[in-house]
């Protein structure tokens, strides 16, 4: 990585000076299983409560203990949705953390390392290194486990933070263990703070964070918002099989559904998860299943079943590095084509791709409406960065969540002569047929994955086949979705249109600001309705731009290809892909866009 001069650096601190900053990037790293996560968590929650906007991204591998892990947290007085390019403070519990991450530090950056491992500062950095006896201080106070608290204290000294801001969080986390434990942990924070304050001389830049607005906002991962969206939409059943980075959704719902009478079943595999969800939905309950690439591959046959039987189905796909087991704990956006076209044969399908945590909430809730209105599978596409990146989120408004059940029959039905069946697959003008559910009198019909006539009974006649296929596809011809494209398009004749989907939004937004500062005219579109593709919305944006760049975390430029297919202008469209498992950084998007001109 060559971070230094070519890139945009937010803040450099002249040595020996107190600097007011409105953004800070802090990273804590060590071996997996050492409490790295909780250190980051305590630091972040406390700052979030002061009203800062946080954005956290964890680097981890798919093992439980051992292996380098780090948690990078960005703190800002304004909303942020991307990892920052560089780093102000690095807290290191081992030398590997320094070696792997020091290049992100800018010249005024600080390394706070545990003195225990005799940290060595790499030669090619101008950042300062402080060996702080995290472990020793913690051990003296009772247990080495508290070294994380000492590190938080030392960080607070550099930032000139009042350590009392951590008290509330520490109490919530350790309160169950008694006042003594709480007090001890606070002592550890104070000891770290005092040690560092003492050591600090004119040589340590003190970065003073501008005051935040003090508003309490939610601090959550995308998966939390997805689960919350499902609850708000009336989802009362989930069937799922654990997989990173989707498991949080089931783990949240299993905690919350019982209070609403519902439940989650952890099934034997994803085929069962998907078919059980189909069963529950056919039974009339709003149900969901969630997985990642490998699970989605197993669900494909069932997705086709939901398609031909016109059973509402909501599936979440939190993308991770593929194919096969691929990069299971890393960012990627390579399931796009599989989600649009996956399953044999042809079915109508809806694919949504929220680009922020807020959108993840509203879009998941809306997915239940679309599934029932159009009686087809709806896939809510997320990616690892959106699903696991923990961030500050502006309030969610549950009253904005509508519940629309489409043509679900609610009134009493007239008796059908001679035990005829209800026309569940009636050929209608909009393609959508009335839907009855088991238990409804006079609503009996057959459901089958075999091509069928209006009553659901199998039929192989050509005329019927055409009528039913056409009817199914007619349903989604005029799909109504509130904001199919997130647009920030201030220019009528921009030099550049940047397009992305899911979590690339943050990096693109920041790159756009820098490009505008460079004097370029830039529009931005983040596609939220991936399928059916919102050609009407995207076409004018592409037409008016001199050049178009599609930013995506995959190798083949799947969204770029979909754009070319739907809106044409292939000669204008450049793909910018990244498939090393890491999210885009703002400076990368910025410099790639500059290269085009």
């Amino acid at each position: 990585m060559q971070i230094n001069d070519s890139i945009y650096i937010f803040f450099t601190y002249p040595k020996g000076c107190k600097e007011m900053i409105n953004q800070l990037s802090w990273k804590v790293g060590g071996q997996q299983g050492e409490g790295i996560e909780s250190t980051g968590e305590i630091f972040a929650i406390a700052l979030n409560r002061l009203g800062y906007y946080l954005y956290g991204y964890r680097h981890f591998s798919s093992r439980i203990k051992g292996g380098h892990t780090n948690n990078k947290i960005r703190v800002s007085t304004t909303e942020v949705r991307s990892i920052s390019d560089d780093l102000d403070i690095l807290v290191a519990f081992d030398q590997e953390t320094i070696d792997v991450n020091y290049k992100e530090l800018h010249r005024g950056g600080v390394i706070l390392a545990d003195a225990k491992f005799a940290p060595k500062k790499p030669e090619d950095t101008e950042a300062s290194l402080y060996a702080v006896p995290f472990t020793e201080i913690a051990t003296e106070l009772g247990t080495s486990l508290m070294k994380n608290m000492v590190a938080i204290g030392a960080t607070s000294a550099v930032l000139d933070l009042d350590i009392h801001v951590f008290e509330e969080v520490v109490r919530e986390i350790f309160g169950k263990k008694g006042d003594k434990v709480v007090a001890k942990n606070m002592d550890a924070i104070k000891a770290g703070f005092d040690y560092m304050k003492d050591k600090m001389d004119a040589d340590v830049p003190t970065m003073v964070l501008e005051k935040a607005d003090g508003k309490r906002r939610m601090f959550m991962i995308g998966n939390d918002a997805i689960a919350l969206g499902a609850l708000a939409a009336g989802c009362r059943f989930m069937a799922a099989y654990p997989i990173t980075p989707a498991s949080d959704i089931m783990e949240y719902l299993i905690k919350k559904l019982p209070a609403l009478g519902g439940t989650v079943i952890q099934t034997e595999d994803e085929i069962a998860a998907c078919t059980m969800t189909i069963g529950a939905s056919y039974g009339g309950v709003r149900a969901i299943t969630a997985s990642s690439g490998p699970g989605l591959s197993l669900k494909m046959e069932a997705i086709g079943l939901a398609g031909i039987t016109e059973t509402p189905l909501v599936i979440v796909d939190t993308q991770r590095g593929g194919p096969s087991t691929g990069l299971p704990t890393k960012q990627e956006q390579s399931d796009l084509m599989a989600m649009i076209y996956g399953t044999h044969g042809e079915i109508p399908k809806i694919v949504l791709a929220p680009s922020t945590v807020q959108e993840a909430f509203y879009d998941t809730a809306e997915a239940f409406n679309l599934a029932e209105e159009y009686q087809c599978p709806v896939i809510v596409l997320s990616d690892l960065q959106l699903s696991l990146g923990k961030q500050t989120v502006e309030p969610l408004d549950v009253s904005k969540v509508e519940i629309r059940r489409g043509k679900l029959v609610t009134e009493e039905l007239p008796e059908i002569e001679n035990k005829g069946y209800f026309k569940r697959y009636e050929v209608t003008e909009d393609g959508i047929s009335p839907r009855t559910i088991p238990g409804m009198k006079n609503g009996i019909h057959h459901v089958t994955g075999v091509e069928h006539a209006e009553t659901g009974k199998p039929s192989e006649s050509s005329a019927n086949r055409i009528a039913q296929m056409d009817k199914r596809f007619r349903k989604v011809e005029n799909i109504r979705f509130n904001t199919p494209v997130y647009k920030n398009a201030p220019h009528e004749d921009p030099d550049l249109l940047i397009v992305g989907f899911n979590s690339t939004r943050g990096a693109i937004e920041e790159a756009m600001v820098r490009l505008e500062n460079d004097g370029m005219k830039v529009n931005h579109a983040q596609i939220r309705l991936i399928h059916p593709f919102p050609t009407d919305e995207v076409l004018p944006l592409v037409r008016s731009a001199k050049k178009v760049i599609v930013v995506e975390n995959n190798a083949t430029g799947q969204l770029a290809n979909i754009m070319k297919m739907n809106v044409g202008f292939a000669e204008k469209i450049t793909k910018y892909v990244k498939y090393d498992g890491n999210p885009f950084l703002p400076h990368e998007v910025h410099s790639k866009c500059k290269e085009l001109f």
Partner: protein
């Protein structure tokens, strides 16, 4: 009160004349009437195979899904609406080959549904290949030299994975089969009923006559006690699995639904969908 005729529809089954599945259909319809069901309160979920067509031949809600997956669909339906009677059904390939994972886990889970397997020891719909129920040496299109894999013993298997209701029958024993299906429906938990249902077209070994010669009725086994799991296992082993009747029933273990924390007493399908503001605020506060 509905009679078994109310569970008939106007579809003519496309099974071969003489296929064992006809009687399974008749038994299912009779059992449904005998336990006092109305057609709209029965959901028959079936897999793919000749046998899988059964859900289309019964006047009730019916869902003909995909190969091997009738059980998860059926469990989903039951979870959605605990007031429904849910019967899953399919062939031996459906339940013991492609769907075996679901069979084992549905037994463990013990959701209150009934599973009827039409066991003809062959793949009928795909025109005569070996099934996990085919005996060693059985010649089929896919085993021209005779099957060299051990055949599965579903009843023994069910006992080892914690089944609470295990029964076996023969499709011509209409009365016994009907009674077993009724008992299965009434059982509070998962009930597995394996039915020998001869395929007259592709299985020339396990014929009606063969079964008549080889089957032992548990009613005729002295002092047989279906609440005794050990006896059940021993009897199955002694008769090479070729017994009919109620093999084992455990009436003590509660069903999955009864054990679930918080699961609504009312059918979930009737639950209020709107999340009230106070409830939502509480959830949101946990993230602040």
């Amino acid at each position: 009160m509905a009679t078994f005729k109310d569970f008939r529809n106007d579809v003519k089954p496309n099974w071969c004349p003489g296929c064992g599945d006809f009687s399974v259909q008749a038994a299912m319809q009779r059992a449904a009437a005998n336990v006092g069901l109305q057609p709209e309160n029965l959901a028959v979920i079936s897999g793919i195979g000749c046998s899988g067509r059964i859900s289309g031949y019964i006047n009730s809600y019916g869902f003909h899904g995909i190969h091997g997956r009738s059980l998860p669909i059926a469990q989903g339906v039951k979870m959605a609406n605990r007031d429904l009677t849910v019967i899953a059904s399919g062939g031996d390939g459906d339940g013991y080959a492609i769907g075996m994972g679901h069979t084992v886990h549905a037994i463990r889970r013990n959701v209150d549904i009934t599973y009827i397997v039409m066991d003809n020891q062959i793949y009928g719909l795909t025109k005569g290949q070996t099934s996990p129920r085919s005996a060693v040496g059985f010649k089929t299109k896919s085993t021209p030299m005779g099957s060299i894999e051990q055949s599965i013993s579903p009843m023994e298997l069910a006992l080892t994975v914690g089944a609470t209701f295990v029964a076996q029958s023969f499709s011509t024993d209409l009365k016994d089969l009907t009674a077993l299906i009724e008992a299965g429906i009434k059982h509070k938990g998962f009930s597995l009923i394996n039915v020998f249902s001869p395929c007259v077209t592709y299985n020339k070994v396990n014929t009606y006559d063969w079964f008549k010669e080889n089957l032992t009725k548990l009613n005729n086994v002295e002092d047989y006690d279906p609440s005794n799991r050990e006896m059940a296992m021993q009897t199955l082993m002694k008769h090479n699995g070729l017994v009919t009747g109620l093999i084992y029933q455990n009436t003590e273990r509660p069903s999955y639904q009864e054990l679930l924390t918080g699961y609504s007493e009312e059918p979930l399908v009737d639950a209020e969908l709107n999340l009230d503001q106070a409830h939502f605020d509480k959830l949101v506060a946990e993230f602040m």
